[in-house]
Amino acid sequence: MKYDVAVIGAGVVGSLITRELSKYNIKVALLERANDCAMGATKANSAIVHAGFDAKPGSLKAKLNVRGVELMKVACEELNVPLKNIGAFVVAFSEEEIPHLQELLERGKENGVPGLEIVYRDELVKREPNIGDTAVAALWAPTSSIVCPYELTIAGLENAVTNGAEFLRNCEVKAIKQNNDSFTLETTLGEIEAGIVINAAGVHSGKVAEMIGDTSIEIKPRRGDYYLLDKSQGALAFSTIFQCPTKMGKGVLVSPTVDGNLIVGPSAIEHDDGDNVETTAEGLETVYTSAIKSIPAVSLRNAITSFSGNRAHCTADDFIIGSSEKNKNFINVAGIESPGLSSAPAIAEMVTGIVTELLGDVEKKSAFNPLRPAPVRFREMTSTQRAKLVEKNKAYGRIICRCETITEGEIIDAIHAPAGARDVDGVKRRTRAGMGRCQGGFCGSKVVEILARELNVPVNTITKFGGKSDIMYDKTK
């Protein structure tokens, strides 16, 4: 197989780059080692579209974050992904921390972040009645938003595939040969040839760069643990509540999610294995003790799950985006830690700029369609809409996930969508089936059945998330 461009890694960055490239008349493939997109840092982060006051002025992080906020609005509209502009507070818990807010405010102004202001306790309590007793002041950032990172990635990829890009799952790049004017990628799916390679492999971007002898990227994974609380707790905070940032990151936040749950985290633990996403008791303990400083009413009785993600922290302390010194047709997109999600649309724009320059004369596709239709969301419909929908297609009348009210029709849609779901977690991320309070206890086995039926494979070949994550073994005696 020969492609003009091969993108490695289907996180939010690789997927949005692929979508951007699908605007041109070139052959593009997105290679992902997992069974689905959004399986790396993209599925386990805080899901905040940061306003952009945190990054060092002049850095790529600062530039792309602020530009990303602008482009995110457009992308979410075109892709029909909910983006909620709820704003954020960075809270100072003592007088000593107030200068820190001042500093952030100045930095934000320099980065071009609009609307920043410092508010004091009275105002803060009015807007966040559940805030902790020791909060004295806060920086208010009105442009901060929340988005579902995997939904954005899925939607972007779906749109890219609709516009002609190819998605190759279970395709791990193992080695890269440099030819005269192309690369041969050795993958778990065989050899793949490409003129340009984009390294968007997240926490593994250092390893992938090494495949062409580029050793300039040193990634130090930093794990962050989270708790996710039940929807009944979603209203404990109205905006994202940060604490003052430290060297290790932005500290523990408490925030509503777009789906109405409450997310609490992350911790920051440096380790060596970027594939290790085991939460630890200590990590979760830190998250909890820090979170109750912001919102004392946070209670683990209402936790429905815990998870963790690895920040691709780079020793250079900024995003690394551009042609490798070893080969100009090999583009690194590395060290994309926070604000990577916020910056992703701007990163895609920048990388596409580099690609089109390398390719010289490339035409835009006249038939490019930027729109991705909104999937059916039964739970958000009125009775009249529901009645009409079921009338048209009876599969929307069968509720599979009772906690989140997800219908069989929505699950079938998720499986047959471009770059659709192949496993139980894939269905879950696309539809929310199994994301509620019972965490798939009731609907898990039904989702397995539907996947097997729609994909026409035996039930015991359906996995939780690809690889060896089998759910069932042999038939009973």
Binding site: T280, I304, S306, F307, R437, F465, G467, D474, T476
Partner: protein
């Protein structure tokens, strides 16, 4: 909009018993709405025996017990919609449901019986650290895979929690050729029925470790092992007692939560301890005309009690539909000193029938007394050989006792050692 006298939400043993009782009392138009493909509720996946000892006086399997009620329902003109999910119950008792044959269904009811059962507490509620691979599931999910789908969810099993479903699955998985390595229970006692511990663990040589819990799961894709540890009196893991156990499956049997999303939707007041609605002796909630019974009201371990409770609710709903027994003077019941909760939480002192107060204790007691008191008068006091959190108990209140009470009275039940 359809019109019914009585809408029953949920077609498990609770819903069926309530509907049948209402029919017997003379209610005409009754409909049962059930989410699953068949009536029977959770019993359909409980293919072990042990059901109906109290009610039918014989040992039946879950599906057999349910089958008797299904046959009864079929003999009547009670309408049944299966594969039909109730989405909403309104304050005006309008029930909205959906299925893939009739589409969206709206029913105006005079009375509603809520019988939605309960769900298992998932892993998240426990915050076990570690990875989140395949192979960690609730015992009920595993039961469904094995008994309904006919597939084994694993071969080397650790079970966390000694609730009845966990105990029963320990036996079931063993019989299917899996190795059940250990059942860990956080508390110093089991929450399951004594007979299940004997028949499901002891008879198969499966160790039960009390005051022990799973603190971490390991394995990236499929579960590869768990770390267990002993816990102290505050239920905190004791450092140094950690032990790694290789396994590919972790079954959770750590409690059941009444399924009250619909009740919340109507704004029905719930009891913080039971997780179910606050009800009176006819199982009427604080919302007029809405009744609740079975596991949605309080988690039961014996289906026989579910049936008993649901017949009371069915009768209450019938009385309501016929306009009998409206109003009265309600007083509260209260569990103190070792009694965790009481159902019903309110009693009408004008009631002319015996009322049974069901309760659970918070720990194991041997040879303790159950004392019922009202306004300083001891109504009854009975010595019990054994009281355990796993077994539901009851005490009787007679109309004679009620006659001496007034609107300020409160009935308390307590344990005296």
């Amino acid at each position: 909009m359809l019109n019914y006298d009585l809408v029953v939400v949920g077609g498990g043993p609770a819903g069926m018993a309530a509907a049948l009782q209402a029919k017997e009392e003379g209610v005409e138009k009754i409909v049962i709405l059930e989410r699953a493909e068949t009536l029977g509720g959770i019993l359909e996946q409980c293919i072990h025996t042990g059901f109906g000892l109290h009610y039918f006086g014989e040992e039946l399997s879950g599906p057999e017990y349910a089958g008797r009620f299904i046959a009864e329902v079929e003999k009547t003109d009670i309408d049944v919609y299966t594969d039909t999910m109730v989405l909403d119950v309104s304050k005006e008792n309008v029930v909205t449901a959906v299925n893939n044959k009739d589409g969206l269904i709206q029913i105006k009811a005079i009375a509603v019986v809520l019988a939605m059962g309960c769900r298992e507490r998932p892993r998240g509620a426990l915050s076990i650290a570690g990875s989140r691979p395949a192979g960690v599931m609730t015992a009920g999910t595993a039961q469904k895979y094995v008994n309904i789908d006919g597939y084994m969810p694993g071969k080397k099993v650790v079970i966390l929690g000694s609730g009845d479903i966990g105990l029963i699955m320990a036996r079931r998985m063993t019989l299917e050729g899996a190795e059940v390595k250990v059942v860990c229970e956080l508390m110093p006692y089991s929450g399951g029925l004594k007979r299940n511990i004997v028949q499901c663990l002891d008879d198969f040589g499966i160790p039960l470790r009390l005051s022990c819990t799973v603190i971490a799961t390991h394995g990236k894709e499929r579960l590869e092992g768990v770390t267990i540890a002993n816990v102290d009196e505050k239920l905190k893991p004791i450092p140094g007692t950690e032990q790694y156990i290789e396994c590919d499956t972790l079954l959770l049997s750590v409690g059941l939560i009444p399924e009250n999303e619909l009740s919340n939707g109507v704004g029905i007041e719930l009891d913080r301890v039971t997780g179910g609605p606050v009800v009176d002796e006819y199982r009427e909630t604080l919302h007029k005309g809405i009744f609740a019974c079975g596991n949605v009201l309080q988690v039961h371990d014996l289906v026989d009690y579910v049936t008993e409770e649901s017949k009371i609710a069915g009768k209450g709903a019938a009385n309501y539909i016929f306009g009998k027994k409206q109003g009265g003077t309600f007083i509260n019941t209260k569990g103190i000193n070792g009694v965790r909760y009481i159902v019903p939480q309110r009693v009408n002192i004008e009631n002319e029938e015996d009322v049974k107060l069901y309760f659970r204790v918070g720990q194991v007691y041997k040879g303790a007394k159950v004392v019922v008191e009202c306004d300083g008068n001891i109504l009854s006091s009975k010595k019990k050989v054994m009281l355990a959190p796993g077994e539901m108990e009851n005490v009787k209140i007679t109309p004679e006792m009620l006659k001496n009470m007034n609107e300020n009275s409160e009935i308390t039940v307590r344990i005296e050692e």
